[in-house]
């Protein structure tokens, strides 16, 4: 019987069925749930969270070089981090099957950019698979293993937010194809020093030609002949939208979409009067189809910014046909509805750090995680975000540039282990003066609470060593290392002031576990004494969702409050008090 599975659950099932022995990755929306689901097969295969995508990629690459089947998972920007091993693994190739799962985020639901990761397959000259639903997401893992082993190449399977987080019906099968690790010494294959790398480089081009032939014949690519006045070339989730908006049109559906199956494209285009390319983000297929001398339309009608949908494509179709699409304007009252931006949760320990930092005229170079939300009002105490780990290195860069204000870097615990350590090492080595905060909430919170090297647990649930952020800081050469409890506001303020005044680099570790993960049971919550309150509204300036300032005087929601006590400490009239629920 078919089971309803998200694309990510299906990829995990695919890893199991396709005989994968090693799966590594780093969390990142929309890819995170893949390894969270792989772990249910831990008695059969090994899986882990690595500190970052580059490490994860290298772990999986080595497993495949040794002959086993392996998989690595990450979000789109993670592949930027892992691009170094990707580009050369494309040269050495693999022995056992290797697939890199990369999850794009068109529309930037939870990301800082909307890069089109298909470019990496073209860049690295390796095959690209793009499923259109959960069944294909699962089946394509097996296909990736077959292609990878037949052509000795790494394979990229590209999913996206709508594939990964949509649930569709999946038929499962049994596990097969498992291979043993048995490394075969052969420096001409595994050592890409120039002497041998030049030979590999030639083979990469030869392989690309053979892969193109395979793509022409692959069952993952198919022509659906219907009415021949319009033919549409499409891949990934856009296939589903096309089937809804142009139900009568012929379709060339590409699941094995790179190298481009030119013969199939030529056959299809010859059979239709007009050729339309529907692709989300970059115009890669369209430009290629034109380059082989086939006329087509695409970007003139299909937007390249943001994600597509049936609604958007209906508008495109109407524009193409000179018609007017039906309109469904937003409701009459939407303009007066208050926005609901994502906010730090009630009782979030980051709030204490932002409150204390808010008392100082500093520049805060931030990073990627829940604390990114500190950029929004009312906290407004985080000034830049670039990439994972960037918060640490950028503080130093701004400082060395001569920024007049003190520059403070802020990074989360998981992000520190990901790529903050090298930035800290740079600050110590190059005699920087930055103050670096590691806001350690003992988990990878934003992506839904994954373990990391500092939590003392592995993905497979085994106790392990807990890396110490303070000891790492000292080992990097940072002399001033302090730890604070962000719920203790007076001490936090005092220690932060002292570190900001120091004439040398310092590391502040703010440590308190994410309450959303541990869900503390609270018997007493805080309440605002309505008689004593003078309505100064200080407590509403920390952006706590439990404090409802929409009334005459602020009130605390006793369901949401977890009694963290930050509001009590900042109330100038001391009228916020503990009371029974």
């Amino acid at each position: 019987m078919a089971i309803l599975m998200s694309g990510n659950q299906a990829i995990a099932r695919g890893a199991y069925e396709a005989g994968i022995s090693v799966a590594s990755g780093y969390p990142g929306t929309p890819s995170t749930e893949i390894l969270e689901n792989v772990v249910q097969y831990k008695d059969t295969l090994y899986c882990e969270w690595a500190p970052n995508e580059k490490v994860a990629f290298e772990v999986a690459a080595a497993a495949a070089i040794s002959g086993a089947r392996s998989m690595v998972t990450m979000k789109h920007v993670g592949l930027n981090v892992a691009a170094d091993p990707l580009m050369t693994l494309a040269y050495t190739g693999v022995e056992g099957g290797f697939v890199a799962i990369v999850a794009d985020d068109p529309g930037m639901h939870s990301s800082q950019n909307e890069q089109d990761s298909r470019n990496y397959a073209i860049f690295a000259k390796i095959p690209l698979l793009e499923p259109s639903d959960s069944q294909e997401a699962k089946d394509f893992i097996k296909l990736a293993m077959e292609l990878s082993e037949e052509f000795k190449t790494p394979v990229i399977l590209r999913t996206n937010t709508r594939i990964s987080h949509s649930r569709t019906l999946v038929e499962t099968t049994e596990r097969s194809g498992e291979r043993n690790a048995d490394f075969q010494k052969d420096p001409t294959r595994w050592v890409p020093v120039p002497l041998w790398a030049r030979e590999m480089r030639v083979k990469v081009e030869e392989r690309l030609g053979k892969l193109r032939e395979a793509a022409n014949k692959s069952k993952a690519n198919r022509i659906e002949w219907r009415d021949k006045s319009l033919g549409i070339v499409v891949s990934s989730i856009s296939y589903q939208y096309v089937r809804e908006v142009w139900p009568e049109a012929s379709v060339l559906k590409l699941g094995f979409s790179y190298p481009y199956p030119d013969d199939l494209i030529k056959e299809f285009s010859a059979g239709v009067d007009k050729l339309l390319v529907v692709e989300e983000l970059d115009s890669l297929m369209e430009e290629h189809i034109r380059s082989i001398g086939i006329d087509c339309i695409g970007r003139d009608f299909i937007p390249g910014i943001g994600e597509l949908s049936s609604d958007k494509l209906r508008q495109c179709r109407a524009n193409m046909e000179g018609q007017k699409a039906p309109e469904y304007p937003i409701g009459e009252y939407v303009s007066e509805l208050p926005a609901r931006p994502p906010v730090l949760c009630p009782g979030c320990p980051h709030r204490g750090v932002f409150y204390a930092l808010g008392k100082h005229d500093v520049v805060v170079t931030g990073d990627i995680g829940c604390y990114s939300l500190g950029a929004f009002k009312p906290l407004s105490r985080l000034d830049t975000i670039l990439c994972m780990g960037g918060g640490v290195s950028m503080a130093h860069g701004m400082d060395k540039a001569g920024e007049k204000r003190k520059v403070v870097g802020m990074v989360g615990d998981s992000t520190f282990f990901h790529s903050g350590i090298t930035g800290l090492l740079n600050i110590a080595y190059n005699k920087g003066n930055s103050t670096i905060f590691v806001v350690d909430n003992r988990t990878t919170a934003m992506t839904g609470h994954q373990e990391h090297p500092g939590t003392g647990l592995t993905l497979q649930g085994e106790p392990t060593v807990e890396a110490s952020i303070e000891e790492i800081g000292k080992a990097c050469g940072i002399k001033r290392v302090v730890t604070i409890d962000p719920y203790d506001i007076p001490t936090t303020m005092e220690k932060i002031s002292a570190e900001l005044e120091a004439e040398e680099a310092s590391l502040i570790v703010s440590r308190a576990a994410c309450p959303l993960r541990h869900r503390p049971v609270v018997e007493k919550v805080f309440q605002v004494d309505q008689d004593a309150c003078v309505n100064c509204r200080m407590c509403t300036k920390i952006g706590c969702p439990a404090i409802d300032g929409g009334n005459d005087k602020p009130q605390i929601n006793d369901v949401l409050c977890i009694a963290c006590g930050i509001c009590e400490q900042i109330c100038p009239k001391k009228c916020i008090k503990l009371s029974d629920k």
């Binding site: 019906l169 939208y241 049936s310 409802d548």
Partner: protein
């Protein structure tokens, strides 16, 4: 069934209200009734107190997991004003089922925005077919306030052509065994309002 042979349901609310469980129940009920089903939810940043939407589509063969504007047969809102935000998803003859629970956005708490007044009138003006209900109280009476989402599903269930057994099987499969009975009660109490 609509002309495309696909029915669409939209659930909206605020992160943390149990919208994903409700979505699972609807999808599971459609599966029990023998349909092809697709669902979509946004994860990640939006969960942190943000406005959230879950979409379920079922029919003989479903293509897109996303609901088109103007096509939903039912719009369920777990919070009072969120239904107004997403009203253009509803088909002309569609039904809106709205909980009267108010969750103050942080923009209101800090004085940057105002929670609208006369929401009930605005709901009545926006939706031709509206069930506005005290879902939290119904759930509380059934034994647990957290079953409010299931009470809302009960109220909308009669607007979909899914058999009673499919709903019951779905609830049994989606909630923990010790909560099945109270959720079934909440579902039936919600249904009595329709």
């Amino acid at each position: 069934m609509s002309e495309t042979n696909t029915e669409s349901v939209v659930l909206v609310g605020v992160g943390g209200q149990g919208i994903l469980l409700a979505s699972e129940v609807v999808a599971s009920a459609a599966m029990h009734a023998g349909f092809d089903v697709k669902t979509n939810e946004v994860h990640g940043m939006a969960q942190r107190g943000g406005s959230v939407i879950a979409q379920i589509r079922y029919g003989k063969e479903v293509h897109s997991p996303l609901v088109s504007l103007g096509s939903a047969k039912v719009l369920v809102s777990l919070e009072k004003i969120e239904a107004l935000r997403y009203s253009n998803y509803l088909a002309e003859d569609g039904l809106a089922v709205v909980s009267n629970q108010v969750i103050t956005p942080v923009t209101v708490s800090m004085g940057a925005a105002k929670y609208p007044d006369q929401v009930e009138e605005k709901l009545a003006k926006t939706f031709d077919r509206l069930i506005l209900m005290d879902a939290a109280k119904i759930a509380q009476d059934a034994g647990n306030i957290k079953a409010a989402n299931i009470a809302l599903l009960g109220a909308m269930s009669t607007n979909l052509d899914l058999p009673q057994e499919a709903w019951h099987e779905a609830i049994k499969g989606c909630v923990k065994p010790q909560f099945v009975e109270l959720n079934l009660q909440a579902f039936e109490a919600g249904k009595a309002l329709s």
